[in-house]
């Protein structure tokens, strides 16, 4: 429990109803969506509604030596918002105004608590879209997804969050407010700060406003599914599609374990004697171009012995998508603990990575279903376990170690879209080396010398 005067000061800054101190409330900020993570109850939850309030809370916390954990909706998958060292959870749930939609400049300016889907609902009447679409679009906030540099299903063609952030306002650990970037497509003034803070996981500064880039929403799309008896055929299809000069909006893969589980769960009529399934969608502004691309994709699927299903209506498209949408829920209902990884490899190694995951599952006697974004090499090996079973969890941790080591050996990365947070911090050196860790610390300490912003995440503190 914090000193009463600190609480009173917080209440003076953001108003009484925006300071949560009751234990029931604090318990509900002790977790995020990540499995197998420690929980910690913060000292206080503060919900600012303006940048000035954020600045004053940061100044107060710094003076009192309290850690600050910026938090959007708490849907991240790396333990990024858990208040590990107690202190202040700075929740942006109530700082959620869409400040401006500027259809002529193709931008929107938002406060960090705006839910991604709400932004898309607001720009839809202009025929525009904000493309990054993590699985949590209906709940995750703009601030959270910018801080995590979220990806999603459309990464291959449309990129990820960092490609859609044009400007920002940030409050630093020293209480300074800085603004950079803006509505201009071109801007080379100063360092590219937007790209420093995107994906910084709340460790370098607190995002208080975002100017996002919008694009015209694609008008036409064609969806299809390819079923493959051999994993290699699916892998060759992925590279074949790219070789035929088509960039699909989505190019998703599911392995045999996932297909079987989805079919058991949903009975959507998937064959269970196949090794892999690809879900492919092409889209664009011209019907004729989209149709041509769809035919090119269909040709590649058939050339690689794939069984092709082409959706001819929205209802049929929904059916194809139902299988992919059910992947995580179907796997999750098999066991109480679901460890969801996002190891990512170059597109040409997707097949190798799927085979490796299956071998790792066998080696450690675990059930691992792998699905994910084959087009951008971002896979989700999903390990099913029970956190109450200590021995099994040890095997899970070994399997995770091996999944990461394998991804790195294929020229891949620890995390494609979930972030480092607590979950992958100890593997960081394996990818970026000691010099990389030193660079991380230099940047961190230049901006936040006392590690008050989201401590215990992403940047390992120097050994004492």
């Amino acid at each position: 429990m914090l000193d009463k005067t600190i609480m009173q000061e917080m209440e003076r800054i953001v108003g009484e109803k925006n300071v949560l101190t009751r234990k029931v409330d604090l318990v509900t900020y002790s977790y995020d969506a990540t499995a197998d993570m420690p929980r910690q109850i913060p000292d206080v939850v503060v919900m600012p509604t303006s940048t000035e309030e954020v600045r004053r809370v940061v100044n107060l916390a710094r003076e009192k030596g309290l850690a600050i954990y910026p938090r959007g909706a708490g849907t991240n998958l790396s333990g990024g918002t858990i208040p590990l060292k107690k202190g202040v959870v700075l929740s942006f749930q109530r700082m959620n105004r869409i400040m401006e939609v500027d259809p002529d400049n193709l931008t929107a300016t938002v406060q960090p608590g705006v839910v991604i889907q709400d932004l898309n609902n607001a720009v839809l009447p202009f025929g525009l879209v904000y493309p990054p679409d993590p699985g949590t679009v209906a709940t995750a906030t703009m601030g959270g997804s910018v801080a995590e540099n979220s990806g999603g299903l459309r990464g291959l063609k449309y990129g990820v969050t960092k490609h859609y952030v044009m400007g920002m306002e940030v409050v630093l650990a020293n209480g300074d407010k800085v603004r950079f970037g803006g509505k201009t497509v071109k801007n080379v003034t100063a360092y590219d700060f937007a790209n420093l803070f995107v994906g910084s996981e709340g460790t370098l500064g607190i995002i208080t406003e975002i100017t996002a880039k919008l694009i015209p929403a694609p008008k036409y799309r064609r969806s299809m599914m390819g079923l493959f008896k051999k994993l290699e055929d699916a892998g060759n299809t992925v590279t074949g599609i790219i070789k035929s000069q088509v960039i699909p909006a989505t190019l998703e893969i599911m392995d045999r374990t996932t297909i079987e589980t989805v079919e058991n769960y949903t009975k959507v009529g998937l064959p269970t004697d196949v090794e892999a399934l690809l879900l492919i969608e092409v889209d664009g502004m011209a019907e004729e171009v989209v149709e041509r691309e769809a035919q090119a994709v269909a040709k590649v699927v058939k050339e690689n012995s794939g069984d092709l299903k082409l959706a001819t209506s929205d209802a049929e498209r929904d059916q194809l998508w139902a299988a992919r949408r059910a992947a995580l829920p179907a796997l999750a209902q098999l066991s109480p603990t679901v460890v969801l990884e996002d190891a990512t490899v170059p597109r040409t190694r997707v097949t190798d990575m799927l085979v490796a995951c299956q071998k790792i599952a066998e080696k450690y006697g675990l059930k691992i279903g792998t699905f994910g974004h084959a087009g951008d090499g971002n896979l989700h090996p999903t390990i099913l376990a029970d956190a109450n079973n200590k021995e099994e969890m040890q095997r899970v941790h070994k399997a995770v170690d091996e999944i990461f080591a394998t991804a790195l050996s294929f020229g891949g990365t620890l995390s494609g879209e979930h972030g480092i947070g607590i979950a992958k911090m100890r593997y960081l050196g394996d990818e970026i080396g000691q010099s990389g860790l030193r660079l991380m610390r230099s940047v961190k300490e230049a901006l936040d010398p006392h590690y008050i912003l989201n401590p215990g995440k992403m940047v390992p503190e120097k050994e004492a």
């Binding site: 499995a35 889907q117 999750a332």
Partner: protein, 452 residues
């Protein structure tokens, strides 16, 4: 009442008797937060304790001994939930959140007893004659505190009462349905016979239809008669008990369930028909769960569970209703009542009925299944939250430009009456069955459309 004491009566320990039994439900929650997209309380309060995921975390803390279930802060959080089950529709791992919530509330009552006021009210509900007499006295005296608004078929508080009541939403602009001076069940005979009856159905009216919306009851009778269904309306039927169950009073809901089962067993009906999602849900789900190990009433509850239908499902899927021919000129939208859609899984049938009425233009609103904010007594205890939930609903209703808002649950009708009155455009609030009844009546008066 402790679990062991109830065991003597042959009642098994359910999660409502033994909190530990919700552990399995709790472990299904991944904390993904998908519930945040649909929880009406969260969308209003924007705080994690409002949403199912947060409440599951608190339940975990209660089970691990970190928090006491009867801690006033915990109790307050538990009751800031409409039990609308919206979260359950959006839950990838299908956590039965209603079970968790009601088990916790039951545990609170076991530990510290019912609030004296609730104890008094629930005690009254159990005594049907006294309850009935009370409602009739209320009907006779309501003119003192409320003024009549014949245009809306509603009443509003008079100024001295509005002054006292404004903190609870009883301000001058509050519209409420009038308490019927003659309740529905006093207006009809216990058995309504028809010539050449196809089948026999019992009508479980529920309290709201009986005391506030007797016309809806008469409309149910009308459409059943038109479809050659003999109707019995047992006089012994009582409150379904859901209103007390959501307050953790497991003992009273079990008593009511047994009495209602007795009433239906004696009716000789083949089916049980309801016109309220909460009542129908009780018959389809809660009774059989609450009485699962009762050797006498358990099997009866199972039997009626499979024979209970919302009037719309009964008409469209069980008997195949006769399409109405009377013209009803109306632009109609439909609000999916939570318990009707999310408990009874009824959503297409009322729409099918509405669209089959000549003259009706159907307009779907955005998010038709978003909760209206009623939650039974929630609207009394959390009026401000309830109001802002309803405000979003009415905005969606206004967008449709419909002149009639229909729904399938009297509790939603009351909530919509109040807030369409405040934020709407004078739309009429009706039960969907009333429009069907109106069409049948017009047909008899010769208003049928000539079909060549």
């Amino acid at each position: 009442m402790s679990a062991t004491a109830e065991k003597g009566k042959g009642v098994v320990t359910t999660p409502y008797d033994e909190l530990q039994l919700v552990r399995n439900e709790l472990s299904k929650c991944m904390k993904c937060g998908n519930c945040m997209a649909v929880c009406p309380v969260y969308l209003t309060d924007k705080a994690e304790a409002g949403v199912a995921r947060g409440k599951v975390a608190v339940a975990e803390a209660v089970l691990s001994g970190e928090l006491d279930v009867d801690d006033p802060e915990v109790v307050q959080m538990l009751f800031n939930c409409l039990v609308c089950k919206s979260c359950m529709q959006n839950c990838p791992t299908k956590v039965n959140f209603d079970r968790i919530m009601l088990a916790l509330r039951a545990a609170v009552v076991r530990k510290k007893g019912l609030h004296p006021l609730k104890d008094m009210i629930f005690g009254l509900i159990k005594r049907p004659k006294l309850f009935d007499a009370g409602m009739k006295v209320g009907a006779a005296l309501q003119g003192l505190a409320f003024r009549d608004d014949p245009d809306k078929k509603a009443i509003s508080p008079r100024s001295p009462f509005a002054f006292v009541g404004k903190n609870y939403g009883f301000d001058l602009h509050r519209s409420l349905p009038e308490l019927a001076s003659t309740p529905f069940r006093d207006r009809v005979t216990e058995v309504v016979k028809v010539r050449d009856a196809k089948t026999k159905a019992a009508f479980f009216t529920g309290c709201s239809v009986n005391y506030f919306y007797p016309q809806v009851g008469e409309d149910v009778v009308e459409v059943l008669k038109e479809n050659k269904v003999q109707i019995s309306i047992p006089k012994d039927q009582q409150c379904c008990g859901i209103a007390v169950f959501v307050h953790g009073d497991v003992k009273t809901v079990r008593e009511l369930a047994r009495k209602n089962l007795d009433a239906m067993q004696n009716s000789g009906a083949e089916y049980l028909v309801t016109a309220c999602g909460s009542c129908g849900g009780a018959w389809q789900h809660e009774y059989k769960e609450l009485l699962s190990d009762d050797p006498v009433y358990g099997p009866q509850a199972q039997y009626w569970s499979a024979r209970t239908y919302d009037i719309s499902t009964f008409l469209t899927k069980v008997i195949g209703y006769r399409p109405p021919k009377g013209k009803v000129e109306a632009v109609v939208t439909y609000h999916d009542s939570c318990h009707l859609k999310k408990t009874m899984k009824v959503s297409q049938e009322p729409r099918q009925i509405l669209m089959s009425i000549p003259g009706v233009t159907f307009k779907e609103m955005a998010k038709p299944d978003a909760c209206c904010g009623s939650g039974g007594s929630y609207l009394l205890t959390h009026y401000e939250t309830s109001k802002s939930i309803a405000q979003r609903k009415v905005a969606d209703i206004n967008q449709t430009e419909a002149d009639h808002v229909t729904t399938g649950c009297p509790a939603c009708m009351m909530q919509l009456l109040d807030h369409v009155g405040r934020f709407g455009k004078g739309q009429k609030i009706t039960h969907y069955v009333s429009l069907l009844a109106e069409s049948y009546r017009k047909e008899k008066k010769g208003g049928a459309i000539h079909v060549p």
